[in-house]
C-alpha cells in the first residue's frame, strides 16, 4: 500500500478523535456501564447513533399523525355527503352536525403538509440517516460536536411539542396552507387558524430551523474534518455525498425561511407592512400600505424549493447505496452520480419562482425560471439512467430494502416526469394549484422520499438495533404500499388535468368538477389502504427491536465502514482503532476476487488477484 494514497487532510483530522476517544476505545465497556447516568445515555444522549434513533422514532410518530390527518380529509373528499358523527369522539366540535368544519379541513391540509415535509421527511429522514451514517461511514467516533447534535434533536423535539399543542387550540391550528401565504396567514379576521395557531406554527418552525442549522453545521463539519485515514472525498459512499450536500442546502436556505417567518411575525404582531397592502377585511380598511404578498412567496420558495431536494437527496443517496449493495454491482457512474447531486444542489437555488408563474410576477422572470427549471431535469435523468444501469446484469437479492429502493426509482420517475409539464410556464397556467400538482409532488418527493426512508430503515435496522426486521412482513408492506401509492396518485393526475383545484373542502358546487365523485372515492379508499398498510411496518419495527432475529456484523455483505463495527456498536463506534480506508465503496463482484464484495478497509495488497491495472501501483 502506498502512503501517498492517504490525503493528508484526512490523516491529520484523524488525530483529534483518536486522542479524544482514547478511553472510549480501550475501555469501551466500562465507559458505557459506569460513566453515564441513564438520563444522559438514553435521553440527553450525545451519541450520534442514539440521536439518530430518537429522530427516527419521533419521525415515525409524526408520520402516523400526518397520515391520520390526511385520512380525515380524504374521508371528507371521498364521501362529501356522508354523516361524520362517528368522528365526533376524535374531533369534537370540529364536526358540526355530522359535517366536518371547512376551516378545520383547511387546518388538516395545512398541518398534514407541514408535518410531512418538515417533521417527517426533513427531520425524520435527514435527521435519522445523516446522524446515524455520517460518523459510521466516514469512519469517525462521533459527530464533530456531540453536544450540538443533542441540542439539534431537543430543539426539534420542542418544535414538535409546540406544533402538537397547536392542534388542540380553541381556534384551531394554522390553516393557511403549509406555504402560509400572507395575507391569509397574517390576519386572524380572515381565518381563525391565523390567530394563535399560526403564532405557534411560526414559533415551532423557528425552533425547527434552529435544530436544522445545528444539525447541518455538524454534518458538514464531520464530513469535511473527521474522515478516517484514506477516506478521500472521492471514496465516500453516495449516502454521505447526499447528506453532505443536503446539509449545505439546508444551511443556505433555512435562514431565508427564518427571515420570512420573522417578517411575518412583525406584520402580524407589530404593525409592519412587509407583506400587507390595500386590505379591507372584517368591515374595516387596515392601515397596511406598500407591502407585497408576492415578496413573501419569493422568500418562502427560496427555501421551499431547495427544501424538496433536502427531502429527496438523502433518499437518493440511500437508494444508490442499497441498489448497489443488493444488485451486487458497483453503482454505475459514481462520479456522474456525485456530479448530478452537485448539479441538482446548485440548480435547486435558482428555480424557486416556478411555483409563482401565475402570481402576477413579471412574465420575463417566468421565462427565466422556466428555462432553469427544465434544466434541472437533466441531472435527475442522469441519476435515473445510472440506477437502471446499476441493475443491468446485476445479481439482485430482493431484500426488503432493495424492494423499496426499486420502488423509489419507479415512483421518482413517475412523479418526476410530470415536473416537465409543471415547469413549463405556459402549461402551468392550467395546472397550477390543481390536483396535477398534488399528484406530482406526492409521487416525486412524498412517496419516493418515504420509500427511500423505508429502504434505509430496513437496510440499516440491523446496525441500529442489532436485530433483523422480518422480511415476509416487509414484502407485504412493500407491495401494499407501492400499489396504494399508485392507486392514490395516478388518478389524481386525471382530475388535475381537468382543472380540479387543491385545498377544496367540497367540489359538488362546480359543474366542471362534480363529475369526479367516483374517482375521489376511489382515491380515498386507496389512501386509507395505504394508511393501514403502514401498521404492518409499525408492528414489524417494534416487534423486531425486541424479538427480531439476531443480526450478524455484516448481514448484507456490504462494503461500507459501518459494517466493520460490532453488531451493536457502543459509544465511539469501533472498540479498537478506526479502520483506514483504501478503496471506493463499490467493489462488488470484482472479477478475480473470491467473494462478491471487497469492503473499503481491505488494502489492495490483500486483493492482488482482483486489482485492476491502475490499482496495481497501490498494492
Amino acid at each position: 500500500m502506498a502512503a501517498t494514497n492517504i490525503p493528508t487532510g484526512g490523516a491529520h483530522a484523524q488525530e483529534a478523535p483518536h486522542v479524544q476517544h482514547h478511553a472510549a476505545g480501550d475501555h469501551h465497556d466500562e465507559h458505557e456501564h459506569h460513566d453515564q447516568h441513564w438520563l444522559f445515555k438514553y435521553v440527553f444522549s450525545q451519541d450520534h447513533k442514539w440521536i439518530a434513533k430518537q429522530f427516527l422514532i419521533s419521525g415515525i410518530i409524526w408520520a402516523f399523525i400526518g397520515a391520520t390527518l390526511s385520512t380525515l380529509f380524504r374521508i371528507q373528499l371521498g364521501w362529501p355527503d356522508a354523516q361524520l358523527t362517528w368522528l365526533e369522539p376524535l374531533l369534537g366540535r370540529w364536526v358540526e352536525g355530522g359535517k366536518l368544519n371547512p376551516e378545520f379541513y383547511l387546518a388538516l391540509v395545512t398541518m398534514h403538509g407541514t408535518i410531512m415535509v418538515f417533521f417527517v421527511l426533513t427531520a425524520g429522514l435527514s435527521g435519522t440517516f445523516s446522524n446515524f451514517l455520517i460518523p459510521l461511514q466516514v469512519g469517525a467516533r462521533d459527530m464533530a460536536s456531540g453536544f450540538m447534535n443533542m441540542l439539534s434533536f431537543w430543539f426539534f423535539f420542542l418544535a414538535g411539542i409546540i406544533m402538537f399543542v397547536s392542534l388542540f387550540l380553541e381556534t384551531g391550528p394554522a390553516a393557511a396552507g403549509w406555504t402560509i401565504y400572507p395575507p391569509l396567514s397574517a390576519l386572524p379576521q380572515a381565518i381563525p387558524g391565523s390567530g394563535a395557531g399560526q403564532t405557534l406554527w411560526l414559533v415551532s418552525m423557528a425552533l425547527f430551523i434552529v435544530s436544522q442549522l445545528l444539525g447541518g453545521v455538524n454534518y458538514i463539519t464531520t464530513v469535511i474534518n473527521l474522515r478516517t485515514a484514506g477516506m478521500s472525498m472521492a471514496k465516500l459512499p453516495l449516502t454521505i455525498w447526499s447528506f453532505f450536500l443536503t446539509a449545505i442546502l439546508g444551511l443556505l436556505s433555512f435562514p431565508v425561511l427564518f427571515s420570512a417567518a420573522l417578517l411575518l411575525i412583525f406584520d402580524r404582531s407589530f404593525g409592519t407592512s412587509f407583506f400587507l397592502s390595500d386590505i379591507y377585511i372584517g368591515g374595516e380598511a387596515l392601515n397596511h400600505v406598500g407591502g407585497s404578498p408576492i415578496l413573501f412567496q419569493h422568500l418562502f420558495w427560496f427555501l421551499g424549493h431547495p427544501e424538496v431536494y433536502i427531502v429527496i437527496m438523502p433518499a437518493m443517496g440511500i437508494v444508490s447505496e442499497v441498489l448497489a449493495t443488493n444488485a451486487r454491482k458497483p453503482i454505475f457512474g459514481y462520479r456522474a452520480m456525485i456530479g448530478s447531486l452537485i448539479g441538482i444542489s446548485l440548480l435547486s437555488f435558482v428555480v424557486w419562482a416556478h411555483h409563482m408563474f401565475v402570481t402576477g410576477m413579471n412574465p420575463f422572470l417566468g421565462s427565466v425560471f422556466m428555462f432553469l427549471t427544465l434544466i434541472i431535469a437533466v441531472p435527475s435523468a442522469v441519476k435515473t439512467f445510472n440506477w437502471l444501469a446499476t441493475l443491468w446484469r446485476g445479481n439482485i437479492r430482493f431484500t426488503t430494502a432493495m424492494m423499496f429502493a426499486i420502488g423509489f426509482v419507479s415512483l421518482f420517475v413517475s412523479g418526476g416526469l410530470t415536473g416537465i409539464i409543471l415547469g413549463n410556464a405556459a402549461l402551468d397556467i392550467q395546472m397550477h394549484n390543481t390536483y396535477f400538482v398534488v399528484a406530482h409532488f406526492h409521487l416525486v418527493m412524498g412517496s419516493s422520499a418515504f420509500f427511500g426512508m423505508f429502504a434505509g430503515v430496513y437496510h440499516w435496522f440491523p446496525k441500529m438495533f442489532g436485530r433483523m426486521m422480518d422480511e415476509k412482513l416487509g414484502y407485504v408492506h412493500f407491495w401494499l404500499t407501492i400499489l396504494a401509492a399508485y392507486l392514490v396518485f395516478l388518478p389524481m393526475h386525471y382530475v388535475g388535468i381537468a382543472g380540479f383545484p387543491r385545498r377544496y373542502y367540497a367540489y359538488t358546487a362546480y359543474e366542471t368538477f362534480n363529475q369526479f365523485g367516483d374517482l375521489n372515492t376511489f382515491i380515498s379508499i386507496a389512501a386509507i389502504m395505504a394508511f393501514f398498510a403502514q401498521f404492518i411496518f409499525l408492528f414489524n419495527f417494534v416487534y423486531s427491536i425486541f424479538r427480531g432475529r439476531r443480526a450478524t456484523e455484516n448481514p448484507w455483505n456490504s462494503n461500507t465502514l459501518e459494517w466493520t463495527t460490532p453488531v451493536e456498536p457502543g459509544h465511539g463506534n469501533w472498540p479498537g482503532a478506526i479502520p483506514a480506508v483504501y478503496r471506493w465503496p463499490y467493489d462488488y463482484s470484482k472479477p478475480g476476487a473470491p467473494e462478491d464484495f471487497i469492503p473499503q478497509h481491505i488494502p489492495y495488497s490483500q486483493t492482488v488477484a482482483s486489482n485492476l491495472p491502475y490499482e496495481k501501483e497501490m498494492e
Binding site: S277, I279, F385, L388, R397, A425, A426, Y510
Partner: protein, 357 residues
Amino acid sequence: MIALGILLALVLLLVVFGLLFRLQILTSIFSGSYVRQVGLSNRVNAILMLVFMVVGMAAFAYSFIANFDKMNPPIASVHGLHTEKLFWITMIVIGIVFVLTQVALFVYSYKYQYREGRRAFFYSHNNKIEVIWTVIPAIVMSGLIFGGWKEWTNIMGPAPKDSVELEIVGKQFNFLVRYPGRDGKLGKTNFRLIDATNEIGFNLNDPNSLDDFTAGEVHVPKGVPVLLHIRSRDVLHAVYSPHFRVQMYAVPGMPTKFWFIPTKTTDEMKAQTGNPNFNYEIACNQICGRGHFAMKSTIIVDEPDDYVAWYAQQKPFAEQNPDVLAAFKNKKTPVIDEVPAVTTAAPAATEKAQAAL
C-alpha cells in the same frame, strides 16, 4: 353494542394475524430459509415485479383511456388550444420515457434476479453512454422549453388594443365584477372607500368612475380579446377558469391582468357538451379561507351583438346609488389620490409598476 362487537372482531383478527406471523417464523426456521441469504421469496418477488409492471401498466392505460373525456373538458380560448397541443406533445414525450424507464426497471429486476453461481457484471462507468444520456435529455428539454417559452410570451404579452376590458375583484368569498362603462375607462378605486354598498371602493370623484357599472357575472363577447384586470381587496385569491386556460392570482395591493380570446359562446358549449346546465366557471384557486371551495363565479360568452345589447342595458353604479354619489359630492374625500388605482387610462404606469415587481 355494535361498536363492541366490531372491536372484538378486530382484536380477534389481530390475534389471528399474530399467530400466523409466529407460525410463519417457526416454519421458516424448520425449513432453514430463516437464515438463508437468498431463498424462494427472491424468485417470488422477481415474478411479482414483472406482474406488477404488466398489470399496472395495463390498468393505467385502461383507466387513462376510460377517463380521457372526463379529464378533457372542451377548450374555449385561442391560446388554450395552443397550450393544449403543447401539453399533449409533452405528455407523449414523457409517456414514452415513462414506459421505457419503468419497463427497464422492472424487467431488469426480473431478469437479473439472483442466481446461484452467477456473478454480477463489474461495470463501473462508461463515459460515452453517460454523455449520450446527458445530451439527449438536454436536447429534448430545450425543444420543450422553446415551445413553452414561445406560447408563454404570447399569452403574457400585451393585450391587443381593441380588447374588451373589465375588472374582477376577489374578496372572501366571491368575485366582484366591474365594467368601464361607455367611456371605456375604469375609474379610480381605493380600498379605504369600501363599505357595504361601495364594495369595490369606487372613487366617484373621478369622472371616469361615473359610468362604471358592476355585474353579478362576467359577460364577454365571443371572438374578441378580453383583458381582465384582477385585484383582491383582502387575501390572495386566484381567478381560474379551466375551459379558457385562464389563471392569475388576485393580489391585494398589486393589480394583475390576463387576456384571452373566447372561441365558443355559452350556448354553443351547451349544445356541444349536451349539458343544458353548462356554464363557464371561475373558481378561486388560491386558499383564501372558510369559503374557498365555494368561491365561484360565472363567465357568459355572448355573440358580439348580444354582448353589445347587454352592455347597453347596464346601469352605472353611480346612477344606481345616488346616495353614495351625493356623499362624494358633499365631502370631496381627500383620500382619493393617495393610492393610484388601476386605470386603463394610465396603462403605461401599470406596466412600469408590474415591470418593477
